[in-house]
Symmetry: C2
Subunit: 181 residues, 2 copies
DNA sequence: GGCACCATGTAATTGGTTACATGATTTA
DNA sequence: TAAATCATGTAACCAATTACATGGTGCC
């Protein structure tokens, strides 16, 4: 049903303070957004699966002033499985589908002015992304340095920052290259 | 059945000298590999679809010394559709699933020496990728500068080169950061 | 004889998203 | 009273890959 990586993404989040499907989704959308994404349609069934595997336990909690929720806790077996997954080699690099590059590949069929506009728009989106990463990094640096996870979280953000910056530079270079012609 | 982008990727390739399912696949694996990928399971049904839509025509060709093949040709209607697709705005940036970053996010559960090894391995793969891009770029510069497409193909390669380079830099920075501790 | 290359295709399966369904509480 | 937030879940659908199926030619 769910891929191994996705299972461990969810299991891993149980070690970061998230313990309901809802908070896991929030964390995904907030802090893992730049390299992992997941929908409720996967989260809830996978949490069940983790319990079935003995990697986590559930407890239904009644809350005052809020709906009931199911709290998940990672088990010793789950922690072991997580460490086992961590030591496995990282597989080959994935190919990213990039629609802008796909269009660019065929852009001799189009006027350069239009192509330039597209790259400009793309650059804007990259800049927004860059700023989002910066904001998250600042928040993390301020409020969570006591958190043992924070060092690694910042490193993943740095990846996003560095590669996004490179892409922005490429946009600028490419735009001036296309304007020359 | 097939997504719009994938349809146009295949249709676009019909304008670049590819005219069989087989050569389209080869081109994909060779020159579009860094931003688009496709399997035969999609190519052949999609080629049929393009003919159904009137975007392409087929002709069965008997070859001496080689198996028969089906040659596809883009139609005027197909070219118009391609240009229509090109002018459309590029949608929002996609999230790339990056397994290394996912593991890194949870790496406080692991010894730093192991984490460093993983990053080193990842760096190696990035370097191989970088060299592949360089080779393709050199080939392209040497043999296809007469090709009207080549300018754009090189630009897409530059994207790969620049962002891969940035990722390699991040690996180095991260490794030395983790060794300090 | 076997491997590499050329060439086409389909069925089963996978791994996921989207849309749907429900409902309590707080705040504007 | 409407919207936002908290909270859980499933069924239908989608786009793709993988595995399977077939077969000719050239070369070592």
């Amino acid at each position: 049903m769910t891929k191994e990586n996705t299972q461990f993404a969810i299991l891993g989040l149980l070690t970061t303070g998230c313990n309901t499907g809802y908070t896991i989704k929030q964390m995904m959308d907030g802090s893992l957004n730049h390299f992992w994404k997941i929908s409720y349609g996967q989260i809830y069934p996978t949490l069940k699966l983790l319990v079935d595997k003995g990697y986590a336990t559930v407890e239904e909690t009644k809350q005052e002033g809020k709906p009931d929720k199911k709290e998940y806790q990672i088990t010793a077996k789950g922690e072991e499985a997580l460490r086992g997954w961590l030591v496995n080699d990282v597989p080959n690099l994935e190919t990213i589908k990039n629609e802008l590059l796909l269009k660019l590949f065929f852009s001799r069929h189009q006027e350069n002015t239009l192509t330039i506009e597209h790259i400009q728009l793309y650059k804007q989106k990259l800049q927004e992304r860059y700023q989002t990463y910066e904001t998250i990094k600042n928040d993390l640096s301020k409020h969570h340095m006591s958190n043992a996870d924070a060092t690694f979280w910042i490193i993943t953000l740095d990846f996003g920052l560095i590669t996004t910056k490179a892409a922005i530079d490429w946009c600028e270079e490419t735009i001036s290259k296309l304007m020359e012609v």
